[in-house]
Symmetry: C2
Subunit: 228 residues, 2 copies
């Protein structure tokens, strides 16, 4: 197998059968040695972070498979810290799709004139460009279409899938009395018919989760969800 | 008549018949003494700037009236520097609606990964919140609807009107061999049926215009458009 991409928190290998292998690393994003899932730089390395992220990701991708929601997931090997996936083409140079249930973070920084901190939002979907140099700017459906990144039809599919998947995660967390505030996803086109499917991962680093009003750190989330 | 609002570049008076009078001031937005139409602070005062802005605004609002495109305009008095308008309710605490024909300014700062500087854009419309403290953040159709600022139906009307009015301005400038790169508008609801109409002004301070590849300063634009 051939290393094709070295990411901040994962390495990507191409397998001989055309599938890809994602190797989850212990590197986590953050700044000044503090873990921050929203940061664009690798801040520190935490032993076990890779496998914890993979375990939670595998749990959610298996759950989505049961619900027949399309993803790039094939299988995973927790001991090796690897996940096998179908090859996917990203939109443009990569998008992040955010689903929000509470007004916090960048939503509040932008729309604080109209929203109270923590106000409920009804699975509000927004898209940002993956562009570290420009602080991942938000982008509208019209701009995505005009710049040739995502067609209007694709946007509609993306938005529906985002709400569906967000709600699956929200319900799974609720079973452990954890509340999902927001979550970010990545999507890609898979196969000859360019089907839009969820790619990348679903772990603590992708979401803000709270229990009894307290923010749950990503590694703690994995423990609460899978080890109790 | 009663002073009801003191703006950066205009004062607003309520008239006894229910109409409003806008008094165009010589104060212009900018920073450190340099005129910058996109700035959020008053930078300096230029003698004649108010009347120049009013003249161009009256010219465009009269042109729109002939084309039966709805605005808040009733009439103007250039000598007095005033314009009489219908009362309008703004959306939320105020929106700016931008129509782009070339990729420059904040569009390029956000989407420079996908657009070349100066690239043609097909009357691309985007909306930003008027919020100096948050640097006038862009906002999507979905967010406008969810936050109760503008319904989806209103957004559709707003977008159509923006393209129509943008094209009227673009054509008028083209008659003087001037090219419109982008322009920002404000809209409001007028009358019992809450009709969406153009409000505020259309002057050099609202647009980026170029002639033979050179940027035209707002006051120069008024001269080129009306005094030749």
């Amino acid at each position: 197998m051939k290393l094709t991409y070295t990411g901040k928190t994962k390495d990507v290998y191409e397998l001989e059968n055309g599938h890809y292998l994602l190797k989850f690393k212990d590197d986590v994003t953050g700044e000044n040695g503090v873990f921050d899932p929203g940061a664009n730089t690798v801040g520190l390395s935490i032993e076990g972070a890779g496998k914890a992220g993979l375990r939670l990701t595998a749990f959610f991708f298996e759950t989505l498979k049961e619900k027949e929601i399309p993803t790039h997931y094939i299988d995973s090997n927790i001991e090796e810290g690897t996940m096998t996936v179908k090859p996917a083409e990203v939109f443009g140079k990569g998008l992040e799709v955010i689903c929000r249930y509470r007004a916090v973070g960048s939503f509040l920084r932008r729309y604080g004139m109209y929203a109270e901190e923590g106000q409920e939002l009804d699975a509000f979907v927004e898209v940002t460009l993956k562009d570290d140099d420009r602080q991942d700017p938000p982008i509208s459906e019209d701009a995505l279409d005009m710049l040739g990144i995502l067609s209007k039809d694709e946007y509609s599919v993306l938005k529906d899938l985002t709400k569906k998947i967000g709600n699956v995660v929200k319900e799974e967390l609720a079973k452990k009395e954890i509340e999902l505030y927001d979550i970010k996803f990545e999507f890609g086109r898979v196969g000859d018919n360019k089907e839009i499917v969820l790619i990348d991962e679903i772990s603590g680093g992708n979401m803000r989760a709270y229990k009894n009003g307290e923010y749950i750190e990503p590694l703690q989330l994995e423990k609460l969800m899978l080890q109790q």
